[in-house]
Every structure is written in structure tokens, then in C-alpha cells.
Amino acid sequence: MNALSKLIAVEAKLFLREPVSLFFVFALPLGLMLVFGLPQRGASGADAGQHGELTFLPALALALTIGMLALFTLPMALGIYRERRVLRRLATTPVNPALLLVAQVVVNLVMGVAGAVVTAIGVRFLLDQPAPANVPAFVLAFLLGVACLFAVGLLIAALAPSARAAQSIGPALFFPLLFLAGAWLPRDQMPTVLARIGDYSPLGATVDTLAAAWAGDSPAWPQLLALAVTAVAGSVLATRFFRWE
């Protein structure tokens, strides 16, 4: 096996040995769906706005899965690797330490996809929700959402002065993003300016485009574009500012 596949295999093993991250990916989104989704069934009328859309909640659950991996797990893991001089140690071997970053991203992506599939299946059968109707658009929205959120996570990893800092910056960013996405207050009840910011915020745009595709509509192009732009900008900045030690 070559170095990269070996690194990915080892990182995957380490991920699976962390009960907390497994809980984040596989249990929490589904749990939230069941807690909030069941009482909502039947109660949602035409007057409920954003929260009344049947696909809002499952889209939010998927965005939550990706968001937690991208903003909690990934920056913390990379922060720890820098702090414990694992990256430095790797630099003394013939292998480029950037491969460890690649392996981390790959493992978190795969776990994100797995978590999304589990959540989607859970939604489909436990909440009797139809499967995503516009599959190509759904896949596109999912990929762009993942790219955007992971880029933000990598930027946190690059800029956070320590693993501890990364551990608090992630949530400190995650909850406002969740708010902007309309998790608590539906965006149609927010002040207009806030709602427009929410529309193009990483989680907001991810939730909207996923929800639209799930319902069989076409996602809004400006929102897809916003995700793509954030993904590229975040990755470029993260690469520029990443410190190896």
C-alpha cells in the first residue's frame, strides 16, 4: 500500500475509535430529526413559511452532519496534529505532511457522506418522507455544501492558534451559521437584511439548495454560486495561511 492509502486507512480507524465524532455524524442528526420532525408532522400548515416546508428539516439535518464534521471534528484534529508535532514528525520522513491533511479531509468527507446516507434513509422510513426528487441537483447541492463547509473548517484549522482555540472557534461559528440558516427563527420572519445574509451563508445556502432539490425543484443558482465561491476562497486562504508548527 502506498503512503496516502495507508494514512487514510489509519485516519479512518482513529475516527471510528472516537465515540464523540461517531455520535455527531450518525446519531445526533437523526435524533434531532425525530425530536423535531415527529411533532411537526401534520401540524405544518401552509402558513408556517420556511419551517413549513416538508424538506426543510431533513435538509437541515444533512447540513448539520456536514457542518459538525467540517467545523468541529476537522479543525480540532488538525490543531492537535500541529500541536503534538505530528505534522513536524511527518516532515522528517520521505512523505509530504500535506498528505495527512488530505487523508483527514478524505476521511471526514467519507464519514459525512455515510452520515448523510444514514440520515436520509432514516428520514425516508422513520418520517415517511419521499426520497430526494431531483437527484442530480441534490448531489450537486450536497457536494457544493460539503466543499463550502470544509473550506471554512480548513480555514479555522489554518488560523486557530491552538487546538483548544480551534475547538471553541468551530462552535462559535457554527451556532450563528445555524441561526442564519433559519434553524430557530424561520428566515421569512427575520429582518430582510439578516434573511438575505442567511440566504448566502454557508449553512443557509446548503439547506435551501438541498431542500429545493429534495422537493423536486431547481436550487437557486445564486445560492449554488455562493457556496462555490466560499469553497474556493476558503481553500485558497487556508492553504495560504496554514502553519505546519
Binding site: 500500500m1 502506498n2 503512503a3 495507508k6 494514512l7 489509519v10 480507524k13 482513529l14 475509535r17 472516537e18 492537535i80 496534529y81 503534538r84 508535532r85 505530528v86 513536524r88 514528525r89 516532515a91 522528517t92 520522513t93 520521505p94 512523505v95
Partner: protein
């Protein structure tokens, strides 16, 4: 034959000079010590040798290669143990070795390595459950897993208890017996004295001396100190008048006589002749600590092992 050649190495961080002017060569098969107080520039020097940092001046050759330009080749052939480098908590010993082994062209046998380093029973233990000494040995094992020609070991025994330190010293000798050239970075004199064939003393970014441990000792003279507590009255002037004696001092009821190696014989005969009984006889020989002090003009914090939270730069 030199495997490492460093000539007039110069390295600065901003306007802080980390290494001013360092030159030395390391011969194949020797244990070469790089010794100096914290902040002397030891770690920066070996980081330039490993190609982890680019020198601002001078040349560095490792196995005839440029460690920056030919970094991949140099890293295939030079194993490194970094100070304070850790592994992920839940990574197991065998997995770590298996992973690092996959990075190299020449791969050591993992079971043999585990046996050699006394880690055979810890093969399935997670990193965070290892003791300090076991972590250190694993770190050395990772440095050897690519069958390197040179092993660079930085502050190997920092934070280990005395037993752990002695075990690690035996280990370093076994590494050399495998034909690996060892570069040992330390600020711990006893370690250098015990292990190194030759050593370079670095202070404030410059090489103060390069020699064998005994060569360094002979530079500071061969002054021995004989301490004893006379139980009968003895005249200091009489002791001072003995041939070879260079000094007599009294502190409390203890007398200290200094002189070359034979001074012990002289003092003991004189005491016997005068029928002076004595107790608490002790002879102090010059140590590498003394050599260090006389070469750098200040003390190395060297006789006690430092705690783990200290690091040199």
C-alpha cells in the same frame, strides 16, 4: 569517512541569530554529540541537517547530498526523533510502526524492532496508554523503521526517570552496533560523557570545542580534589608544602586538597606518616561539566535531568 559535513552554518529567525557559525563533520558509525545549554542553537543546527530548515549561510552535506534540494533522498536515509513529538492518542504501537514503515524504501522488520526496543508486549497498546519511556522508545523505533544510515536523536532522555534514561542509553549503543551513525542532541552532560565518541559543544550559536569526551576533559586540566575530615589535628601549611599540592582549603571540619591525579597518594601517605586519622574521604575528578564551564564561562544546567515542560530551541 564523513557522512555529515556542516560548514559555517548560519541561520537567523528575523533578526535573532539562532546559529551564528557552526562547522563540524560526523564520521560513519560514530555516536556524535551536539551539546550545549538551552537556546544554544543545537536543534536549529540539526533541523538544517535534516532539511527541515533552509540555512541562511554555509553549506550542509548529508551522505554527500543537499538536505534541502535532495530532501526525499536524504529523508529515505536519515531517521529522526524529534523532541516532544507525539502521536494520536488512540494509535496503537504496531499501527504507528506499520504506517511509518510504508513511507520508506528499505523497511525494517517490525517484530524484530519491537523486540529490540522492548516494546513487544505493548504492540497493541494505544499511544496514550504508554509510559514516558515507552513513548520515547516508540519514537526511536519510528526513527529506525526505514533502516536509516543516520539516526538523529534530539533530547532523547528529557523527562525520563533515571532508570528510563539508562535503558535509553543502552538502546543508543545498540543502534550504533547495527552500523547506524548516531547524532545525539543533548544538554545533559552525563549522557554525552557516557555515549559519545566525539562531541561538539555549541554555545550561543557557535562551536566552542569539538573533541572526544576525554579530550575535552584534558583541556580543562587534570585537577583532582581530595576531601576528608581529619579526626586528629593537622597543619594546613604542612599539607600545602607537599609536592604536587596546588591548594588547601578548609570549610567547617572538612579539608579539601587540590592537585594532579597523584595528589591522593601524596596526601594519604602524609596523613599516615603524621598518624592523622580521617573520615569522609572523597575524590572528585574533573567532569564534562567542568570542561563545559571552563570552555563557555558558564554553567550548563546539566547534572539534573530537566522536566518535560522545558525545551531547548
Amino acid at each position: 569517512m564523513p557522512v555529515i559535513e556542516v560548514e559555517h552554518l548560519h541561520k537567523r529567525y528575523g533578526d535573532k541569530i539562532a546559529v551564528d557559525d557552526v562547522s563540524f563533520t560526523v564520521d560513519q558509525g560514530e555516536i556524535f554529540g551536539v551539546l550545549g545549554p538551552n537556546g544554544a542553537g543545537k536543534t536549529t543546527t540539526v533541523e538544517c541537517v535534516q532539511g527541515l530548515r533552509r540555512a541562511d549561510g554555509g553549506t550542509v552535506r548529508v551522505l554527500g547530498l543537499d538536505p534541502v534540494r535532495d530532501r526525499t533522498e536524504v529523508r529515505q536515509r536519515v531517521g529522526a526523533q524529534l523532541q516532544e513529538s507525539q502521536l494520536p492518542d488512540k494509535l496503537r504501537v504496531r499501527e504507528a510502526l506499520d504506517l511509518y514503515r510504508s513511507f520508506y524504501r528499505n523497511r525494517a522488520d517490525i517484530d524484530e524492532l519491537l523486540d529490540d526496543l522492548g516494546l513487544a508486549t505493548q504492540r497493541d497498546t494505544a499511544f496514550h496508554k504508554l509510559s514516558g519511556g515507552q513513548k520515547q522508545r516508540l519514537s526511536v523505533a519510528l526513527a529506525l523503521v526505514g533502516r536509516p544510515e543516520i539516526a538523529i536523536l534530539d533530547e532523547l532522555t528529557t523527562g525520563l526517570d533515571p532508570q528510563g534514561r539508562r535503558d535509553t542509553w543502552d538502546l543508543v549503543e545498540r543502534i550504533r552496533d547495527r552500523g547506524v551513525t548516531v547524532v545525539l542532541v543533548t544538554h545533559f552532560m552525563e549522557e554525552a560523557e557516557r555515549l559519545c565518541d566525539r562531541l561538539a559543544i555549541i554555545d550561543t550559536g557557535r562551536v566552542v570545542a569539538i573533541d572526544t569526551p576525554s579530550g575535552l576533559l584534558s583541556r580543562v586540566g587534570t585537577e583532582h580534589r581530595v576531601h576528608f575530615r581529619p579526626l586528629d589535628p593537622v597543619d594546613d601549611a604542612l599539607l600545602a608544602a607537599l609536592p604536587e599540592v596546588t591548594g588547601v582549603r578548609r570549610s567547617g571540619d572538612e579539608v579539601t586538597v587540590t592537585g594532579p591525579e597523584q595528589v591522593l597518594q601524596t596526601v594519604l601517605s602524609a596523613l599516615a606518616e603524621q598518624k592523622v586519622r580521617y573520615a569522609g574521604l572523597r575524590v572528585e575528578q574533573p567532569t564534562l561539566d567542568d570542561a563545559f564551564v571552563s570552555l563557555t564561562g558558564r554553567a550548563a544546567r546539566a547534572t539534573t535531568p530537566p522536566s518535560t515542560d522545558e525545551r531547548s530551541s
